[in-house]
Amino acid sequence: MTLAHYLALSAALFLIGLFGALTRRNIIGILMGIELMFNAANINLAAFNRFLHPEGIVGSAVALFVIAVAAAEIVVGLALVLAIYRSQNTVYAEDISLLKG
């Protein structure tokens, strides 16, 4: 297993996440896509740490930090979804255009 394998895996995961985030109608789906993208980044971080600076732990630490932030972000995101559902009665992203300029 070389670094390239990990990078390929992470690129694939990222693209799947992006695709999901762009195409899903349901906001929860979009959030799940975003989570995938986070994890792709995490794999990158861990891999770079392992292969380029095996003696350090900075990459792993940042990965952990990202996981924590992602957890917080998903909490906020889900709360927003809930709030939107209550007020707009929908969870489909195309129905919501409050930010329209």
Partner: protein, 653 residues
């Protein structure tokens, strides 16, 4: 006893607070006023013991004791007592009259709805007056001086539901305060040069001679203190408040405006006599003020019909005599007159109160023939009149004699004027007695209604009458008074020498003046036929107008008040219409005008440019905003595309 002398002032103060706050019941049913009377009785006893100690030589005088009050900078202000013979006599006079007046008031004020408060005020007055007498320090003396003024204000305006008492109280306070300004500046000047207010230290500063302080200082201080004394002791030109002060309850007039408070000015001059000895000019000013006051007030008394006003003018006149005595160097005689005057003037006022209590009017034109209805009051008042007019061997004769002696030594011309005044004194006093008690009654319903006052009121009259008869004799005997009250040994010796020098016929002068006054009063008023009096009044109408106008002094002060009111109004106008409206608001308006100009500039040029940029931005933004359709996923797509583009760009570079 003398070691506890401070309690004489403190006990009435405590009593006053207790009476005022002690119970909610304000009327006669409250027993608290008796506490005030009891305390005052105790104080009288205490003062008598002190006086006995001083006279017998058992107590060492001057008794001096202080305690520190407060400090500022390096100076220390003390509170303390300084008792010499003068103070001991003054204590007795004040406590005696206070006590008798309080007893008398139990009867006089019995139906008043604010009975209790009246006694609280009386005790408060006594406390501050006694504090004034004993205090060893001019600042503390000034403090008590002002407190005495306040209690006078409260008591004159005691029946404040009427406009006249309310006005009179204010007038008394403000007029005396005008004199106090002089006192105040005098104190400042004194402190600037002597650095102390202590009455035991101060004489040393004045005895040190011209090198110690500029020569004008004692004179200036003396004249300034005289201003204060003139205010309190109702001397010309500040006497205007005293006749109006008669709006207060009559016992108050007896206590405050006859026997004690008004004597405070005389007492002040006596207490600070060392200053006047260093400043002969100031002393002469005292004499002249006294003489002018005595003469003017005696003439005004002739024209008054209000029984209390006659007595008020008489008080002013007698106070003038005391000042005159002090001013011509007769320290002892002036204070002797103060002591005896305290007795007989209190007596006269209380008699007048008894009359007023019976007939419910002050106007002598509605009295007459009351001797049958109120014999005790009549007899005691007659005694008082004889005493004040100078009937031989009554108390007033001794003291007035002494003053006239001293005046003659100083200046025979002044002696003549003083003698004429003494004759006038006899005249107006007997005019009062005759108009009130003799002849026919001029208002019959009132006469019918009248009756003798209860014993609680007449007993004090008898006591005072006895004192008016015997006090002079007792005190003159063996020179008791002169021995205790004299200004230094030098003055005493000088006094003895003067008696030897005065011509023998001098004593007859006073008796002659008395006889003349009495005879004139009898001729005009004593026989019951007032036709001669009224025809005389008609022919001298111009003179009487001037007298009833009080020589225009009232008008002068009213004009002063009006002038200061107008000045106040003018200054306020200046404040709100010039300073505030023009300078302050004008400044604001000018700023706003400038702001308008700047706004114009702003709108046209600055804003124009800004608006141009703004419009450009807005139009551009409107175009771009089409892209923002509010679809989250579109935004994400844009982001992804942009990142890809950047990534491609970076990687291919």
């Amino acid at each position: 006893m003398i070691k506890h002398v401070h309690w004489i002032a403190l006990l009435p103060l405590i009593a006053s607070v207790v009476i005022l706050l002690g119970s909610r019941d304000n009327t006669e049913k409250s027993r608290l006023p008796l506490l005030g009377v009891a305390v005052m009785g105790w104080c009288l006893l205490h003062s008598l013991l002190i006086l006995a100690g001083v006279l017998s030589g058992r107590a060492e005088v001057p008794f001096y004791r202080t305690l520190p009050w407060f400090e500022f900078g390096g100076f220390e202000m003390t509170l303390g007592v300084l008792i010499d013979g003068t103070a001991a006599f003054m204590l007795v006079v004040v406590t005696l009259v206070s006590f008798l007046v309080q007893v008398y008031s139990l009867g006089y004020m019995h139906a008043d709805p604010r009975f209790k408060r009246y006694f609280a005020y009386l005790s408060f007055f006594s406390a501050s007056m006694l504090g004034l007498v004993i205090s060893s320090n001019l600042m503390a003396l000034f403090a008590c001086w002002e407190l005495v003024g306040v209690s006078s204000y409260l008591l004159i305006g005691f029946w404040f539901e009427g406009d006249a008492p309310a006005y009179a109280g204010k007038k008394a306070f403000i007029t005396t305060k005008l004199g106090d300004l002089g006192f105040f500046v005098g104190l400042l000047l004194l402190f600037a040069y002597a650095q102390t207010f202590d009455l035991k230290m101060l004489p040393l500063h004045f005895q040190m001679g011209p090198g110690h302080m500029p020569a004008w200082v004692p004179t200036a201080v003396g004249v300034l203190l005289l201003c204060g004394a003139a205010g309190k002791s109702a001397q010309v030109p500040l006497f205007v408040w005293l006749p109006d002060a008669m709006e207060g309850p009559t016992p108050v007039s007896a206590l405050i405006h006859a026997a004690t408070m008004v004597a405070a000015g005389v007492y002040l001059v006596a207490r600070t006599y060392f200053i006047y000895q260093a400043a002969p000019m100031a002393l002469e000013a005292v004499a002249w003020v006294g003489l002018i006051t005595a003469a003017l007030a005696a003439t005004m008394a002739v024209a008054a019909y209000d029984i209390k006003r006659v007595l008020a003018f008489s008080t002013v006149s007698q106070l003038g005599f005391m000042m005159l005595g002090l001013g011509v160097g007769g320290y002892t005689s002036g204070l002797f007159h103060l002591t005896t005057h305290g007795c007989f003037k209190a007596l006269l006022f209380l008699c007048a109160g008894s009359v007023i209590h019976a007939v419910h009017t002050n106007d002598m034109r509605q009295m007459g023939g009351l001797s049958k209805k109120m014999p005790e009051t009549f007899i005691t008042m007659l005694i008082g009149a004889f005493a004040i007019a100078g009937f031989p061997f009554l108390s007033g004769w001794f003291s007035k004699e002494a003053i006239l002696h001293d005046v003659y030594r100083f200046s025979p011309a002044m002696w003549c004027a003083a003698l004429a005044t003494a004759a006038l004194t006899a005249f107006y006093m007997f005019r009062l007695v005759f108009l009130t008690f003799l002849g026919i009654s001029r208002d019959h319903p009132r006469w019918e209604h009248a009756g003798e006052s209860p014993p609680v009121m007449t007993v004090p009259l008898w006591i005072l009458a006895a004192l008016s008869i015997f006090a002079g004799l007792a005190l003159e005997h063996n020179g008791i008074f002169a021995g205790a009250v004299c200004f230094g040994p030098a003055a005493a010796a000088e006094g003895a020498e003067a008696v030897a020098h005065a011509p023998n016929w001098l004593a007859w002068g006073a008796v002659g003046a008395f006889a003349l006054g009495l005879a004139a009063a009898w001729r005009l008023y004593g026989t019951g036929d007032l036709s001669l009096a009224s025809s005389l009044k008609r022919s001298l109408a111009g003179v009487f107008d001037i007298l009833e106008d009080r020589y225009g002094f009232d008008r002068f002060f009213l004009a002063l008040v009006r002038a200061s009111d107008s000045l106040a109004a003018a200054l306020y106008w200046f404040d709100s219409n010039i300073i505030d409206a023009i300078f302050v608001d004008g400044w604001a308006l000018a700023t706003r005008a400038l702001a308008e100009v700047q706004r114009f500039f702003d709108d046209f040029f600055v804003d124009g440019a800004v608006d141009g940029v703004g419009a450009l931005t807005r139009d551009g933004g409107l175009g771009l905003s089409r892209l923002m359709a509010g679809k989250v996923q579109e935004y994400l797509l844009f982001v992804a595309l942009a990142v890809s583009l950047f990534a491609t760009f970076i990687m291919t570079r």
